[in-house]
Every structure is written in C-alpha cells, then in structure tokens.
C-alpha cells in the first residue's frame, strides 16, 4: 500500500480568494455571508448567501477555454492554479506525467436554464451556442480543468451531494494508495448564483435570520434555524509519497484514513448510525483510536436535526476524549459540493499554523451539542491529526483523516 500525501492546496472562497486571505479570515472569525436582495425579489424564503465574485480570466485563459467554463469551473481554476504553484508542479510536468483529476460537483444551473429558455422560446437549437453543453454538465469542472492543465490521468467528477468534495479526495486517496495513480488533483466546486439553490430554498432549509446575515450560520447553537448556501472551490494535490519525495515536492500532510457509508434511511433527514459507521471506518483505515484526533472539522451546517445527529454521532465515538470541534460553515456558510474539500484546506491551514478556527455564533449549546468540546473562539492548538466529516442528501457520508507529515 502506498502512502498518500498532500503537496499543494488552493482555495477560492467567500472568506478569501487565496490561502493567505483565508488564513486571516479563519484567524479572525470573519463571515462571508450577506443578504442578497435579488433572491428576495424572486421569492426566496431566505435571501442569505455566501458572497463571491467571479475571477477575471480574460488575458489568462483563451476564449475557447472561457466559453466552456461555468462560474464554479472558474473558481476551481483559481484554486487549482494556486495548489499547483504550491506543489511546484509546472505545465511541463503535467504534460509529461500521468496526473489525474477528481472533483466533487453536483450541479451547474445557469447553462441548463439558458439553453432550455432559448430552445423553448425560439424552437431553434442553433441559437444555444457552443459553450452551453460543456458548462451544463455535472462533470463540467473536471472536463474543463483537464483540458486547461493538459492532464493525462484519471478524469471524472464525483457527485455525492454535500459530501462530493470529500468523496473526491477519498477516491483519489484510494486510487493512489492502491497504485493506480501517482498524482491526482482533487477538490470540490460549488456555484453561487441566483437560481442554483431555488429548489433547496423550497424545502425551507435555509436560515431566516435575514436581519443579521453574519449571525445566521450558527452550527451547533441552540437557536440555529437553517443553513446558509455558499460556494467557491478548493483543491488538494494528492501524491504517492515515493514520487513526491523523488521530485522534491513540499509535503504538507498525509491522508491516513477515509471512511464512507450510506444511511439507507431518508432522502433529506440525516441519521446517526451512518455517520458513526463512516467515522469508524476512517479510524480503522487510519489504524488509530479516537484519542489520536486533535481536532474535528464538523459537517454541521446549522440545521436543527443535522447538527443534532452529528453531535450524537461524535459523542458516541469521541465522548470520552472530547477533541476540539468547530464547524467552519459558521463563517463560510454551507459550501455544499465544495465543502468536503474546502474544509480539508481550512483544517490544513489550522494544522500548519497551530490554531483551531472558531465556530462563530455558537453562544449557547442545546441538550446534544453541550456534550461536545465546541470552541466559539480561536484556540491555540498543536494539531497533529484532524478528522473532517461530510454528509449529504440521500444519506451519503464521508470522513477523512489527515495527519501532519513526519
């Protein structure tokens, strides 16, 4: 079995457009959430959202590349370019070696809507244009980035709802561990636009605390009333340890465990047993006990039942040792398809700088969250090993364990 290391990370999120900006935000407990009046004009029950500007890629990428990219592929381009720079990987290296790409993504809305609008209105598909099909497919991010970066290895998208990004890293880890690939660019991407979460809003799942946007995402807090949708992209470069050492790569951390499960219970209500099984599998895979986990980056999205059931699951496995816990979604909102990857990036930033980012807005626990060691303020902490949970609709669960490289 090969050891799997992380040699580069990159981020483009609502709390910072690169690693340095994000580090500052994590350190200062800065929120990226706003109230979007346009959503209210379209009848959204909640107009709360993470706010993110699209990067300017004119002059960086040619027209053909840009025409085929939806916004979240642009975000993923930015995070991936940053990760490749950190990992010291040149375009020539990618051209001459077999590097793959696995990204989590589960929607690409505007291109679908625009195409259907044109076809319905004009009864003429020639008016759709050339970029639409490439922008509208779920695999849009991986298909675009694989061409831009001229990748020659594995190339597909993982759709696992709000655990997509985490499963993508998990799949990459398994492929390298078992010797199928030497290097895989893994990550997650999430669109942020007017229509992409309309159907989600229809469920009434979003926080209604519109008078205080930056206090709306309050995972584990007693007065939490729903999640805040958000997005961006995050990238993690996974490599086989041997080949990373051979090319003199900067080794940041090691992925030591991946666990997964399905609740098999309900389409939208998360369970307790499924997460317990995924976390247990990750611990077993890493061959460590729960006492070795210094920090848990919780999935906790700020929904009443979701946070309650994750708290129960964590308490079952970590009740004795009580590691520090925070949900960075308190600052970012719920980055959905991207979250499983971004939260690995956020946690690595904490690991490298010896602190735990605060679970902002956690002012009062409830019966279940009171059993956990959740920190509402920044904590100085040496993190040797952390665990990151990601759960999604349909009861998909993913858990990753990452260790400082020794």
């Amino acid at each position: 079995m090969n050891r799997v290391v992380i040699t580069g990370t990159g981020i483009y999120s609502t709390i910072g457009r690169n690693l340095d900006e994000v580090k500052e935000s994590l350190f200062n407990g800065k929120s990226g959430v706003v109230l979007d009046p346009e959503r209210k004009s379209y009848g959204y029950q909640s107009g709360l959202t993470g706010k993110l500007d699209r990067p300017q890629l004119k002059g960086i990428l040619d027209r053909r590349a840009r025409v085929c990219m939806p916004e979240h592929a642009e975000y993923a381009y930015m995070s991936t370019a940053e990760a490749l720079r950190m990992a010291g990987i040149s375009p020539d290296y990618l051209k001459n070696n077999e590097a793959g790409i696995l990204f989590g993504n589960d929607s690409s809305t505007p291109a679908v809507i625009e195409c259907v609008d044109i076809v319905r209105a004009r009864r003429d598909t020639t008016m759709v244009g050339s970029g639409s099909v490439f922008q509208s497919m779920n695999s849009s991010v991986t298909m675009n980035l694989s061409v831009i970066f001229q990748l020659r290895g594995v190339n597909f998208t993982v759709s696992g709802a709000c655990a997509s990004g985490s499963h993508a890293i998990g799949m990459g880890y398994l492929m390298i561990r078992h010797g199928y690939q030497k290097m895989i660019i893994c990550g997650g991407a999430q669109e942020v636009n007017l229509f992409c979460v309309g159907s989600f809003d229809a469920l009434g799942a979003f926080s209604k605390r519109e008078s205080e946007p930056q206090k709306a995402s309050r995972p584990f807090d007693k007065s939490r009333d729903g999640l805040v949708p958000s997005g961006g992209a995050a990238t993690v470069i996974l490599e086989d340890l041997e080949s990373a050492l051979k090319r003199g790569a900067p080794i940041i951390a090691e992925v030591i465990g991946y666990g997964f499960s399905s609740d098999g219970v309900h389409i939208s209500v998360p369970d307790v047993d499924g997460p317990v099984r995924a976390i247990s599998m990750a611990l077993k895979d890493a061959a460590i006990g729960p006492e070795k986990i210094d920090y848990i980056n919780a999935h906790a999205t700020s929904t009443p039942i979701g946070d309650q059931n994750e708290a129960k699951a964590i308490d079952i496995l970590f009740g004795k040792h009580k590691p520090l816990i925070s949900s960075t979604k308190s600052m970012t909102g719920h980055e959905m398809w991207m979250a499983g990857a971004s939260e690995i990036v956020y946690s690595i930033i904490m690991m490298q700088n010896s602190f735990v980012a605060p679970n902002i807005n956690f002012t009062e626990p409830d019966e279940f969250t009171s059993k956990l060691n959740i920190t509402p303020v920044i904590k100085e902490k040496n993190i040797d090993t952390f665990l990151s949970n990601s759960f999604g609709f349909g009861g998909t669960n993913s858990c990753l364990i990452v260790k400082k490289f020794n």
Binding site: R63, R64, V67, D124, T126, V128, G129, S130, G131
Partner: protein, 82 residues
C-alpha cells in the same frame, strides 16, 4: 445594410468577441488556418450572424465558407435576397 457595414460588423466581432489579432483580419484570411477558428467557433459565429443579421446559417452552407470574404459574401447575398 451595405457591404461595408457587414465587413465592419463582422471584423469588429472577430476582434472583440473572438479575440483575433486585428492585423490578421484580411478578406482572404482562411477562417481555420489563418484566424485559428475551429468547428466549435462556427457554432458561435452562427449565433452572432443570427443576432446581428437575422440570418440562420445552415450546417451545409457553413462548410462552403472558408475565408472571411466567403463569409462577407454569404451574408451580403442573403440580405439581398430578403
């Protein structure tokens, strides 16, 4: 619409929208070999021609358009027939 108007509109779109070097824009420029346009770009050119001139380019007609001059002529002739 005069032939000059058509030339001016098409050239402007190629420079602005398709980011083609102004110096490469010549009537005898081959769309693929000289201007670097590919089959996917012709899909977008069809959209632009429809929007700007109200003409629907058919796939079989597109294949006979090889140079910029061919494109100007095609649009001019279609407009004349309207």
């Amino acid at each position: 619409m005069t032939r000059e108007d058509i030339v001016k509109t098409i050239n402007g779109l190629l420079i602005e929208e398709f980011e083609i070097d102004e110096n490469a824009i010549k009537p005898d420029a081959h769309l693929k070999n000289d201007l670097g346009l590919e089959s996917l770009d012709f899909v977008d050119i069809a959209v632009i021609v429809q929007k700007e001139f109200g003409l629907t380019l058919k796939g079989e007609e597109m294949t006979s358009i090889r140079t910029l001059q061919n494109l100007y002529d095609y649009i001019f002739n279609c407009i004349q027939k309207k």
